[in-house]
């Protein structure tokens, strides 16, 4: 047996419980193979338990264990880092709980908070450093820790209660679908629920839309006075949150 044949057989045993592959590895190998399979499953289960403590509290120990088993069977690990393994777990939760979007949304939030915690560093600018900016040409750059997820339930309130060890509120569906913003500020992962207006604004600015063009879009949607005020509020909030890491003066678009 060549090395690659052996390694394929070991993969088949670990990930698929393939008894025929296990026998090819060695007639006397069964006790050792059980140790390796147990290590493999225990590592993945521990990774998911560490990453989704609030989700476990929310759906209960037994249901969470069932979700882990389903996920380990559905998604073999592919990255060199265990940190990547939790990324697909919210999709498994969505499959297991198609009528309960709160479960996958809570999973997504926990995963996004972990990702923000180790995302690339970039110092935030403050309002005090922006005095000389030509706002007609200003382009905003956001922290690389920023992420946006879907939000259709009161998961932010549920997460906060679970984190504080308090009784969480009953799940409630939002009147209108929104979004959840996750980022890191001062080495702490943070989140807040946002409406569709802010979500669209964040996506457009992240895509390169200048601040003047954002103001223009707001004016077109909400009128001169209200549109400018809303754009100003967003800018103030983003600065206070530490979301903006650079403001550069680009060329004026027609």
């Amino acid at each position: 047996m060549t090395l690659i044949e052996l390694q394929r057989d070991m993969r088949a045993w670990l990930a698929c419980d393939d008894e025929i592959a296990a026998k090819r590895i060695g007639a006397d190998a069964a006790p050792g193979l059980r140790v390796y399979q147990n290590n493999y499953r225990a590592q993945l289960a521990a990774c998911l338990e560490d990453s989704f403590a609030r989700t476990r509290d929310w759906i209960g120990e037994e249901a969470f264990h069932h979700a882990i088993v389903a996920h380990v069977e559905r998604v073999p690990p592919s990255s060199w880092t265990l940190d990547a393994y939790p990324r697909d777990f919210p999709a498994t939760l969505a499959l297991l709980y198609p009528d309960d979007p709160d479960v996958a949304e809570l999973g997504w939030l926990e995963c996004a908070l972990s990702e923000a915690f180790v995302a690339a560093d970039a110092a935030a600018v403050t309002a005090g450093t922006l005095g000389a900016i030509d706002w007609d040409r200003a382009v905003l750059y956001f922290t690389p820790t920023l992420d946006l997820g879907p939000l259709s339930t009161n998961i932010p309130a549920i997460w906060a209660a679970l984190a504080a060890g308090e009784m969480p509120p009953a799940v409630a569906v939002l009147p209108e679908p929104g979004s959840i913003l996750v980022w890191r500020q001062d080495q702490v992962s943070r989140f807040r629920a946002i409406d569709q207006i802010e979500r669209q604004a964040l996506l457009a600015v992240r895509g390169g839309l200048s601040f003047a063009a954002l103001c223009g879009a707001m004016v077109a949607a909400y009128g001169q006075e209200d549109g400018i005020a809303r754009a100003g509020q967003l800018l103030g909030q983003w600065l206070a949150d530490g979301l903006i890491t650079a403001v550069e003066e680009g060329s004026i678009s027609p």
């Binding site: 590895i25 006790p31 050792g32 140790v35 060199w80 880092t81 560093d121």
Partner: protein
């Protein structure tokens, strides 16, 4: 830049250290802990940024740091993961570690990553693959690596050589050094019925730059390398046997589970200082 086959073994460092684990971070930062170096798991810090990377920079400003990897997979028949190697190189460039080490094992094949240190057959084919992978890693890192002997639970026969002969040939061909895990020798010797003393006498002593000391657990059929117990007498005995055979080496306690107060680990490290210090003086 190292070239395969040349004498590129990393510079010796004599001292006594600990594996740095999360429950002890604050103590290492609040005061000067009496260790000569600390070792961290490389992958825990191969992230883009945030607190882990900042913490490692802070530790590095206070202590020599060894980077110990678990995911390079030097035994993968389909070669190394380039993305992994690039991240490790970036970390090594920033931290300038005392040692860069990983295991004589494999974790990944064709896009599947087991996140466990899986055994290799000690065949000439495996030796060629391991050496090619170490050459690639050392070329990318621009320095010699240390390779650790594993704990294993399967004896993959037929073999062309013993594990210590495999390690010797690997060192000669790649110029890498050895991280000798004495507990792993005891665990594998017990599981597979070979003589631990013959192993320790057979490894290339001049290539050993670091020694790991750890504990293990007894399962129904096998000893398991759990790192959740104090170093047992059986492992201290092997340590006392091998230390006079080695040149200047860095010895450390490795504890990964059921982590006790730092004072307990420092007491264990005192034992290593007593045994290792005596034998090093005797050897000198």
């Amino acid at each position: 830049m190292p070239i395969a086959g040349e004498e590129i073994v990393t510079t010796p460092f004599a001292g006594f250290g600990l594996g740095l684990r999360k429950p002890h971070y604050a103590e290492f930062l609040d005061r000067r802990v009496e260790v000569d170096f600390v070792e961290v798991i490389s992958e825990n810090f191969m992230v883009d940024g945030g607190r882990p990377r900042a913490l490692l920079r802070e530790m590095r400003s206070r202590y020599p740091v060894a980077l110990h990897g678990v995911s390079m997979s030097i035994g993968s028949a389909d070669g190394l993961d380039g993305a992994y190697l690039a991240r490790l190189c970036a970390l090594v460039d920033e931290i300038e570690p005392l040692f860069v080490s990983d295991h004589l094992s494999w974790t990944r094949i064709e896009g599947f990553s087991s996140h466990d240190l899986l055994p290799l057959p000690y065949t000439r084919e495996a030796l060629d693959i391991v050496c090619a992978n170490i050459d690639r890693a050392q070329d990318a890192l621009g320095r010699a690596m240390l390779i650790e002997n594993p704990s294993t639970y399967i004896d993959l026969a037929p073999a062309d050589m013993t594990e210590w002969q495999f390690l010797d040939a690997m060192c000669v061909r790649t110029g890498c050094g050895l991280l000798l895990d004495v507990n792993n020798v005891f665990v594998s010797a017990t599981n597979h019925g070979f003589d631990a003393i013959a192993y320790l006498d057979g490894v290339p002593h001049d290539r050993v730059r670091q020694v790991h000391l750890a504990g293990h657990s007894q399962s129904k059929e096998l000893l398991i390398d759990t790192h959740d117990q104090p170093v047992p007498a059986s492992v201290w005995d092997l340590y006392a046997h091998v230390m006079p055979l080695l040149g200047p080496v860095a010895s450390m306690i490795e504890r990964d589970d059921d982590i006790p107060p730092l004072a307990d680990l420092l007491a264990e490290l005192s034992m290593a200082r007593r045994i290792g210090g005596q034998t090093m003086r005797r050897a000198a």
